[in-house]
């Protein structure tokens, strides 16, 4: 009798354990697709991070991090920070802080402390129109540190639907009333963004426009174009074709190359490089075509390009680094030539062919981080 009771109890225990185990097992088989990314500081970057020069600034969920000597450090809380950009001397950063209805630019020191506010884009307290707020994005300082460049929606009219961004310049330390629009922002296009002040004068930026405005035979479809201008309110000059759909330019430290992404009007994003002589761009060369590349950024020593791209298909954006050798291989060593009158007699030996160098591949620096892919990165020496 007791043994039957024990048997029944044992069966109940086994059934409970079996059912629960199955439930837990199935739960454990859930994919990690919806798992939130980890803070960069909570993971160890790949060993290759140790080889990256200088200090790289980037953002995750509105918090600023830097990567220095192979380790990430969190500089701010998750408070809407994005698009850090370095002062010419590398001492401070200019950064965007985005709020629900406006964004402002700030000077931030290299430890994440706010030094000063540069814009005041919030609508006056009594403004009844939400459109009285403004956006400022993509700040850049001029080489002499005197001028702040940015994209700003200051050309919109009250109550209008067109909120296209335009490229503006403002004296550093001045007010928005002293700012001047360099471009017209287009008409219902999204506008002109990502200005880069050029060492030789003028600016390069990304212009969004309808392809049919460039060439009437093309489809009325919004595309991105790299654009150059060296005078305020001038039409400027197109640098890339509408079909290439290029954006996010980054100038190499020596000023001779541009890295960008080109999307060819599709849901793709190729890392592309081209030569640059200060006013003219060379042929586009696709460097990476199998990743969704965002925010290419040159290393301060020119040793390669950092960028953001998903670590796994359709996943969050991780930090990657492409060594320069991948797209600008070093020239082959000169083949030894026989010295005339030298000690060698008889037929010359056939030089053995140099084995081809193994292809240089992108290096994934982080695995689980999920960086803000619309936020530019800043890389200091």
């Amino acid at each position: 009798m007791i043994s039957r009771l024990l048997l029944a109890l044992a069966l109940v225990v086994v059934m409970l354990a079996g059912g629960t185990s199955t439930y837990i097992y199935l739960g454990s088989k859930q994919t990690k697709v919806s798992q939130a990314p980890l803070k960069p500081t909570a993971t160890t970057p790949r060993a290759a991070a140790l080889n990256l020069p200088g200090t790289l600034y980037l953002t995750q969920r509105g918090a600023v991090y830097n990567l220095s000597a192979g380790r990430f450090h969190q500089l701010t809380s998750e408070a809407g920070y994005m698009q850090p950009s370095l002062f010419p001397d590398g001492g401070n950063l200019v950064i965007v802080r985005q709020f629900p209805t406006y964004s402002d630019l700030y000077v931030m020191n290299r430890f994440g402390g706010l030094v000063r506010q540069l814009t005041d884009n919030a609508a006056p307290p009594r403004a009844g129109d939400i459109g009285a707020n403004h956006w400022s994005f993509y700040p850049r300082m001029s080489a002499d540190g005197q001028t702040l460049w940015m994209t700003y929606d200051g050309l919109k009219c009250s109550g209008c639907y067109d909120v296209s961004l335009a490229v503006w310049s403002m004296p550093f330390g001045g007010s928005i009333r002293q700012a001047r629009a360099w471009t017209d922002g287009g008409y219902y296009t999204g506008g002109d963004v990502q200005p880069i002040p050029l060492p030789g004068g003028g600016i390069m930026y990304t212009k969004y426009d309808y392809a049919s405005n460039i060439d009437y035979r093309l489809e009325t479809k919004l595309v991105s174009l790299l654009w150059f201008t060296n005078r305020i309110n001038s039409v400027g000059r197109r640098l890339t074709d509408p079909g290439a759909d290029c954006r996010s330019p980054s100038l190499s430290p020596d000023g001779t190359q541009i890295a960008m992404i080109c999307t060819y009007e599709k849901q793709i994003s190729y890392l592309t490089v081209a030569s640059w002589n200060g006013s003219t761009i060379g042929p586009l060369k696709t460097v990476i075509s199998d990743q969704l590349v965002a925010q290419p950024t040159w290393a301060p020593d020119g040793s390669g390009i950092a960028y953001l791209a998903p670590g796994v298909a359709a996943g969050e954006f991780q930090l990657w680094f492409l060594p320069r050798a991948a797209f600008a291989p070093p020239p082959p060593p000169p083949s030894p030539s026989p010295t005339p009158g030298g000690p060698h007699n008889g037929p010359l030996p056939t030089p053995s062919p140099t084995p081809p160098a193994p292809p240089v591949k992108p290096i994934q620096i982080t695995m689980y981080s999920g960086f803000d892919a619309t936020s530019t990165m800043a890389w200091a020496r």
Binding site: Y161, S164, L165, S224, S248, A294, P310, A314, G315, E316
Partner: protein, 310 residues
């Protein structure tokens, strides 16, 4: 047996939600107009067509916030999707929501009103009769449903085509006052979008010169991105997804067909085989009138539709 019970307990919420959401019968509202009696379509009496054959689904997306009463919502998005399993070809045709058509419920109006007058049956019948296509099934999703779906699958990767800036975007979800506005700035380029920002990207139209047409292109981009991400979802994720979608998704596709479609969806891995069609000029023309109707050039639309939706 206990293991089966454990599995049953695990999947029961998903199954319950799936049973509630799937296999919805399509009640076609008879048209009071003799001229435009709805064409009998497969949708009126859905049959369990084998998944090996081509099929057409009407995707419907609605504002279903508190401005609307019950199921009387407008369909902000109508996309016809034809899937040919044998060739792995997918064609998506976005129908402008302001298209001025004969409604299956009678009279004329914007096509986005069909659903509000007669539910999914009227929307299906209107598209079927005006475009001359056979529609096998429909899938309807509400605003919050799309947000939750994208969040449940962990977000999607999209190359947003341009900065989408909108100063008067409706603040009608997750808001106590559905007539309020908010400012939206979805910056351009490759990025990982969560549900809320995906919704802003596909729904905003004030800053787009092409208005609803531009928005349709963005909706197709997001649909393709969802399909791409869905390939990485396993059956064990279904309870979480179904819980997220509760009440925000309805479809006439029954459960056995959903099960048979899952492996099919995973086998479509070539994005170049997804054809996207937009009915821009010269297929449609904005009339410029206050009601913002879009008129159809049926002489061009019908041959296009018959080519890709035979």
């Amino acid at each position: 047996m206990s293991s089966v019970a454990g599995g049953f307990a695990y999947f029961m919420p998903a199954a319950q939600a799936a049973i509630e959401a799937t296999g919805q019968a399509i009640h076609v509202t008879p048209s009071p107009s003799l001229l435009f009696t709805p064409t009998p379509t497969g949708s009126a009496a859905p049959t369990a067509a084998p998944v090996t054959g081509a099929f057409t689904v009407l995707l419907l997306g609605s504002d279903d916030d508190s401005k609307f009463i019950g199921d009387h919502v407008l369909t902000q998005s109508m996309i016809l999707v034809r899937v040919v399993p044998s060739t792995k070809d997918v064609t998506m045709l976005s129908i402008p929501r302001d298209l001025y058509v004969h409604l299956s419920t009678g009279g004329y109006g914007k096509i986005d009103g069909a659903y509000s007058y007669g539910g999914p049956g009227a929307a299906v019948a209107t598209v079927a009769q005006d475009f001359g296509v056979r529609i096998d099934d429909y899938i309807w999703i509400g605003l919050l449903g799309l947000v939750k779906l994208i969040d449940a699958i962990g977000g999607i990767d999209v190359v947003t085509s341009n900065p989408v800036m909108d100063d008067y975007y409706p603040a009608d979800i997750l808001s106590s006052w559905p007539y309020d506005y908010e400012r939206v700035a979805v910056l351009a380029g490759p990025q990982h979008l969560d549900g809320l920002h995906s919704m802003q990207y596909v729904r905003s139209r004030h800053g787009d010169l092409q208005s609803d047409l531009g928005r349709s292109q963005r909706q197709q981009q997001v649909l393709i991105a969802i399909r791409q991400k869905a390939k990485h979802v396993s059956p064990s994720d279904l309870p979480v997804i179904s819980q997220a979608l509760g009440g925000e998704l309805k479809t006439s596709i029954d459960l056995p067909k959903v099960a048979s479609l899952l492996p099919l969806a995973a086998s479509f891995d070539n994005p170049d085989q997804i054809r996207t069609l937009i009915l821009a000029n010269p297929y449609t023309h904005g009339c410029g009138c206050p009601e913002t109707y879009v008129t159809a050039n049926w002489n061009l639309i019908l041959p296009l539709v018959h080519q890709y939706f035979p």
